[in-house]
Symmetry: C2
Subunit: 466 residues, 2 copies
């Protein structure tokens, strides 16, 4: 038995049947030369089933079987029932990407069993383009979404001839990593530096986003300090901010990261800003289609690092609130407003001492902890309409046992009053957008994908910034 | 909005994430001459998607979105999101029956979304023998398991050339049935007589089994009446009587009904008794394998009709408790003890007035309602170890759009303290056994299938009863 900190147990306590608290990832692989999709899927399945030495993280489960509360400790299972946790299926004809997304939608709403380690790995064949998909589900009390993505990436290699691939839970990966760290110190490889930085950045982001009531007191103390202005604003009420059911709708697509970078260079904005601009244009169109575009701008919450760049020492991450300028029809003016908003938010945040910045993030995030209290969503003011996260990964091509990673999409968590979540990960030259929404509340969610492309095209058509 | 009786709402109230309260059915079909499995699966999918006029039963959902209690009314959705409710998948190679059972196991543990009509239909291809499976899941508040099976059977025809097949929720079926009833009165077809009788018998069985607290008072009144002896006994505590998680394990197999009938004739026992004898032998072996065979006999609860036979007027159904004689090693002695036990239980029950009989059944079943109270299972005495149900269906061969029904297996509900359920349905010449269990608590559940065959063979080897 192992003590469970509030940052882990709160995801168990906040979970309801309408608000499952697990994160997911969808990865697509191209079989290597001469390999059929069946062979790749069976290779994955066999290596997964053979990885019987499971790392402690994927063996632990809540120690108390009580239904309501009191999850205070972890226990560890010695044997893992792979026939339950590993699932292999083939999509029906025609095997389009939308059939894959439907499968993920249908499965992301189901709660994980708390009487066993809370994860599943789905190996999916049947795509007509010959790719093989891996959809993974892990409870947020075990890892945050970004750590999950990082763990998945650790099973990959930059070497297409590497044939030592295994499952993400394999203890062997932990040993390899320790060995590499010991050998490489002080000169780390480019890949491990980037993944480590991304990992620690977002481990902390997960904690801040979830720290809730425990942090509320700190937040209050911070507010008394009076040397910063809390940027809490009233976000408008939209269809994104409803009470939700458990059924999900998932949409995903990627764009070449170079396109986003080029647009950013031309407009003198960061890739993060480009992502916000794409989401702003897309949500403006989506809400307008549903007669629900508010007069005031949508407000997004985004986790950001407090450090300029490359500085990986520690957990200095906070949430900023960004005015998405969805009330502005003109793309050029909208982009200018977004740039101004993110710049000012970051400027304020960077002046803060780390604890103050963390406090700020916690103050923004704390209402999430009350989301399951009946009536709270309908009657409480909110600081933001949705969370948008950007999770950087390695830029190089990556392979699993010679099969090339061709797409990587986060599958995050809709919540009471926050029916949509957009998480983007940049890996191997592509920015993969994963848009998860409450199914009944957000119809035709997949249209956002078209709108994202339109918004990027509009951005590219703007005259370069001076 | 429509008032919800306690016999429906209690299945919503008693439901927890460890104890989903939906029933299921697994049906297997052989494609008709010249039809490939893909064509049959696509035919099912297309006709299901085309059945957009959905009967009220499959459009209703709980009106209140609250989490805890207060489910007092139904509301009806006008549009059904078929992309969510209808699911089509292909099993991975080799496509053995065990791969199908694994799929059902993996999916039967997931809760249904309460914000939409609570049912799912899974069309499953990929069996190497070329059969196509249909796995359906419906919430117990909407229908009991037997009504669900009856509804599935109503989509079938005795005519292999009938090409009017549709989905089980199609309003057209309701209209056809009304028309047939009007035309056939007073002479009903054999098929509709049998299915109607089976249906009403078990509609009531579901109500009695679930009537719980509402009936407790009646039960108490009945006990004060003193003109019958309540047969409540202490059942031994076994691995079947544990606290459970949500993960499931499903095993299914069928036997020619003629084999069971012949064995019954030779031993002068009913098919029901033969089923109990098979389960008794199988559970004795299963528990012995796990070093958990109790010294006292297991006790099974079985729903039975109060009428001798064929008499279909009304809901006179109760639960009887049967001593399974699992403490007796000799097959002949065990079978004799089972015959004596079921005969005496039925004799007692048949002497009761209907209300008393219902009261008896309710008194046996009421602890189920307390099963979700923490600690109840571990510390309370129980009247039985598992429920065994036998649901008769029509004997003729049945077809869905020309595809022959080749197997029909109920998928019922394990509960707190009742980790296993065995339900048998006799359709088209076969007795289909569906054994559902809590996954972590009942390892190697599929071995029961071998033990059932052994027990039947032993029964057949006994000298004929005098």
């Amino acid at each position: 038995m192992q003590y469970m900190p509030v940052t882990e147990s709160m995801f168990l306590i906040a979970e309801t049947r309408d608000q499952p608290m697990h994160v997911g990832g969808l990865q697509l692989f191209i079989p290597r030369e001469g390999q059929t999709p069946e062979e790749l899927a069976d290779d994955v399945s066999q290596r997964f089933h053979a990885a019987t030495e499971v790392s402690p993280m994927f063996r632990r489960r809540p120690a108390t079987p009580a239904q309501v509360a009191g999850y205070t400790a972890w226990t560890e299972d010695d044997e893992i029932d792979f026939d339950y946790h590993i699932r292999q299926i083939i999509l029906p004809r025609p095997g389009e990407v939308k059939d894959l997304l439907r499968y993920v939608s249908q499965n992301h709403g189901a709660l994980l069993d708390r009487r066993r380690p809370m994860w599943e790995a789905h190996i999916i064949e049947g795509l007509q383009d010959g790719r093989v998909a891996l959809y993974t589900k892990v409870h947020h009390s075990v890892v945050d979404g970004v750590t999950a993505l990082r763990l998945l990436q650790r099973t990959l290699s930059t070497d297409p001839d590497d044939r030592s691939a295994t499952a993400f839970w394999d203890m062997e990966l932990v040993r390899r990593r320790r060995k590499r760290k010991a050998a490489e110190k002080p000169e780390k490889s480019l890949l491990s530096t980037i993944t480590d930085a991304a990992g620690s950045v977002v481990d902390a982001a997960g904690q801040v986003a979830g720290i809730g009531p425990a942090a509320a007191k700190i937040a209050a103390a911070g507010l008394l300090d009076k040397n910063y202005v809390a940027p809490l604003q009233m976000a408008p009420t939209t269809m994104l901010n409803q009470s939700i059911g458990s059924a999900r709708r998932f949409a995903a697509q990627d764009w070449p990261i170079e396109r986003l970078r080029a647009a950013g260079r031309a407009q003198k904005m960061t890739v993060n800003d480009v992502i916000v601009a794409m989401c702003a244009g897309a949500l403006r169109s989506y809400l307008a289609e549903h007669d629900d575009l508010p007069e005031e701008s949508l407000i997004a919450a985004m986790p950001v690092s407090l450090h300029a760049d490359g500085d990986a020492d520690g957990n200095a991450v906070t949430l900023i609130s960004v005015r998405m300028a969805t009330d502005i029809a003109d793309p050029g003016e909208r982009v200018a407003a977004i740039k101004a908003s993110t710049a000012s938010a970051k400027k304020v945040v960077r002046k803060l001492k780390p604890l103050q910045a963390l406090t700020l993030g916690a103050a923004m995030g704390w209402p999430l902890a009350f989301a399951t209290v009946p009536g709270f969503v309908q009657y409480s003011p909110r600081g933001f309409n949705l969370m948008i996260s950007n999770v950087p990964g390695p830029d190089e091509d990556l392979y699993w046992n010679g099969a090339k990673l061709d797409g990587c999409y986060p599958v995050s968590i809709p919540m009471e009053g926050l029916a949509m979540n957009i998480t983007v990960t940049t890996v191997a030259g592509k920015a993969g957008f994963g848009i998860i929404g409450a199914r009944a509340q957000l119809p035709s969610l997949q249209k956002i994908l078209t709108h994202l492309e339109t918004a990027l095209t509009e951005l590219e058509a703007l005259p370069p910034a001076e």
